[in-house]
């Protein structure tokens, strides 16, 4: 016993946990900002994006090219294809745009999203909204095909753009899936 060595345990950095405690305290006290559309930049940056980033990096292993074309200011419309039902690819695009340009990508959600409890509120906090216009210098993204496929499989290609499968649709493939 006398010979026992003292092995120093790694001490977690205190500032980080303090920071998190104060973050939590502020959240519970309602001391934060949401914009007119219900978007919560702080929550998105500190909770949603880090959660998606793990999937983005380690599961989907997303590669981004052409990010230098993203404008640094002003409104822009990003049109992407995606494969519908579960908008995980839209979330990955949000991570891609944020990490390569520092700006938040705001998406348009289908009506059913806003009818559902919980999902509607999480989506709003993450920057999704219902029909709005390009205003206030935000970016909006929409995936024209998604809900058509979901809502009416037999006429999926009739009144929406059926352009070539964009690279983003590949996002749904897990590593090793071919």
């Amino acid at each position: 016993m006398a010979d026992a060595k003292i092995i120093p345990l790694p001490v977690p950095p205190m500032p980080a946990s303090n920071d998190f405690a104060s973050f939590l305290q502020r959240r519970l006290a309602g001391d934060y900002e949401v914009d007119d559309f219900g978007f919560d930049a702080e929550l998105t940056e500190r909770v949603f994006l880090p959660a998606f980033r793990t999937l983005y990096r380690d599961w989907f292993r997303v590669e981004v090219s052409g990010a230098e074309h993203l404008p640094v200011d002003g409104g822009a419309l990003i049109v992407a294809n995606h494969s519908g039902t579960i908008a995980i690819d839209a979330l990955m695009t949000q991570v891609a745009v944020h990490d390569s340009s520092g700006r938040f990508l705001r998406t348009l959600g289908a009506d059913f999203v806003f009818r559902m409890p919980f999902l509607s509120e999480v989506a709003r906090r993450g920057g999704t909204t219902r029909s709005a216009y390009l205003r206030r210098g935000n970016w909006w993204a929409c995936g024209p095909r998604a809900t058509r496929v979901l809502a009416s499989p037999t006429r999926s290609a009739t009144d929406c753009s059926d352009s070539a499968e964009a690279d983003l649709s590949q996002l749904r493939c897990a590593p090793g899936c071919r």
């Binding site: 959240r27 519970l28 006290a29 309602g30 001391d31 934060y32 900002e33 949401v34 914009d35 007119d36 559309f37 219900g38 009506d111 806003f114 009818r115 559902m116 409890p117 919980f118 509607s120 509120e121 709003r124 909204t129 219902r130 029909s131 709005a132």
Partner: protein, 332 residues
């Protein structure tokens, strides 16, 4: 430039303050304040006449005083002062019809200002992110004050066709809040535990009571026309509001939320019918038209107005409870 202004609903929280403010305005020669009830607040230099706007006396008052501007602030938002919903609807709908008929018959009237509400857009999951003035409601209000305001706005539109020479400004206000105003919403946030709809955290928009008054005041003495949304900038969510006021929330499944509010109503929390939907889906007004056409920007943002309510209400917390108790006693 108006010289003689008639204010309806002068015993109401806003009508009385508006009448007092207008009577101190050098642009206004005379203010005539009318209401069915006697005002408790000081009306300043305004002349109070206790009449029912449903009676023919109103037309005589308008003509005798050569009124040139009418501010209709007399649409009741709660049934508390009149006892029940049917009396409230009678005053709101028939009263507004009679008022418009009297105004139509009075050639001296050149301007009409109507105090309406953003609740005319209703609330629902398919609402646009922001309502502009030309948007048609997706889930129109089915009852209560909001429905009355829809009807009143309809009568005003018909009046506009009959008297095209009268300049009409209709202001659709967000929920008013602040240190002194008493509404269903202010009572709701005073509850020891705030019931919310499970899985919903709607965006709420508020307007500080002083901003509401200054918008009405500006509208009474200016000459712009049209319908305008008026609300404090920005939004807060219901959970955020509960956090700011430091009250716990009680999530209630959606089908039970209406009955819970019904029980609260019995306990003196005076909600109008649309609040159930409002607390589930929220509503946001696009206020850019008022800013563009007559440069109106509320001094308080939604958040600042709510903070003013939270902090201002600390001193009057006892008074708030007393008045609720008094109202219950009245009902009993």
């Amino acid at each position: 430039m108006p010289r003689v202004v008639l204010v309806t609903g002068a015993a109401g929280q806003f009508g009385s303050r508006l009448a007092a403010a207008l009577s101190n305005d050098p642009n206004v020669e005379r203010v005539i304040a009318v209401d069915l009830r006697a005002p408790e607040a000081d009306l300043g230099g305004a002349d109070f006449i206790r009449i029912d706007i449903r009676s023919a006396v109103l037309g005589k008052v308008l003509a005798d005083a050569a009124v040139d501007t009418v501010v209709h602030a007399g649409v009741l938002s709660t049934r508390a002062s009149v006892g029940n919903r049917s009396a409230m609807k009678e005053i709101n709908v028939i009263g507004s019809l009679q008022l418009l008929a009297a105004v139509q018959a009075t050639p001296s009237v050149q301007r009409l200002v109507v105090k309406s509400t953003g609740s005319v857009y209703g609330c629902g999951p398919s609402d646009p992110a922001l309502f502009t003035e030309s948007d048609q409601p997706d889930s129109p209000p089915l009852g209560g004050w909001a429905r009355d305001c829809v009807e009143v706005e309809g009568y005003v539109a018909a009046f506009a066709r009959r008297r095209p020479d009268v300049g009409i400004a209709t202001l659709r206000f967000a929920h008013a809040i602040g240190p002194t105003v008493q509404t269903g919403m202010t009572h709701y946030f005073r509850l020891p535990v705030i019931p919310i709809v499970l899985g919903r955290d709607p965006r709420l928009q508020f307007l500080h009571e002083d901003d509401l008054l200054s918008a009405l005041h500006r509208a009474a003495i200016a000459d712009f026309t049209g319908t305008y949304n008026i609300a404090g900038a920005g939004a807060i969510t219901l959970l955020q509001a509960a956090g700011l006021i430091g009250r716990p929330v009680l999530p209630v499944p959606a089908p039970l939320f209406g009955p819970v509010l019904g029980v609260l109503h019995q306990a003196g929390v005076d909600f109008s019918g649309q609040e159930v939907e409002y607390l589930a889906y929220g509503r946001m007004l696009d206020t850019s038209a008022a800013e563009r056409s007559w440069g109106f920007i509320p001094k308080y943002s939604t958040r600042a107005a709510f903070d003013a309510y939270v902090h201002g209400a600390v001193e009057v917390a006892g008074a708030t409870l007393d008045s609720t108790a008094a109202r219950e006693a009245d009902h009993g």
